[in-house]
Symmetry: C2
Subunit: 114 residues, 2 copies
């Protein structure tokens, strides 16, 4: 397997955050951006990304616009207002996840109050 199973469930958080930061992005661009930021340590596969983007669209979290660049089609995604709200929630969930996991694996962090 390419990525560890810990990344299962993290894709949506990653995509939403990148869209939030870059305003508009297309699928292939997202895979490259993740590659760049993580120094190639995390690979977003197309088989995971495209279905995920379609789902975000169906949920109304992103809007879509097609553009033609060099006779090749690009599908640009952009967060909706709902998508922006969801991004905030997902980022908070990530922080909570990290806090809980730290408490579980490191007794020093076992007091979750801070």
């Amino acid at each position: 397997m390419k990525n560890t199973s810990l990344f299962k469930g993290s894709l949506v958080t990653i995509v939403l955050k990148l869209l939030n930061e870059n305003d508009t992005m297309y699928g292939y661009e997202i895979t490259q951006k993740v590659n760049e930021i993580t120094n190639g340590e995390l690979q977003i596969t197309e088989g995971a990304l495209y279905p995920s983007l379609h789902k975000l669209e169906a949920m109304g979290l992103v809007d879509v616009e097609f553009t033609k660049v060099n006779n090749r089609t690009r599908k640009y995604y952009k967060l909706t207002e709902l998508g922006t709200q969801e991004t905030v929630l997902k980022l908070a969930e990530l922080e909570k996840y990290i806090k809980i996991m730290r408490a579980l694996v490191n007794p020093k962090f076992r007091n979750l109050e801070h």
Copy 2:
């Protein structure tokens, strides 16, 4: 759903770490311990835990011993040498996961060198 999808793939790491810390534990005890440490914020369901424990056993990461307490059966799990090694790997993977996710969601942490 009870827990966020981010916890998908984290169960084995949690179980291995708790076994590493407590020497021997039984299934029900693990669910309670997680509940206690996380102040009830993470619920380990039995439908997830028991198959996972059986898999760890099949992989040779844990040894099993049955005990009778108050006429009720307990199945105690204990890390093997291989299981201890795997625990170290899983904990390292978690730290790496956190580092990568922080870089992705927080531009401040985008220099992965430290």
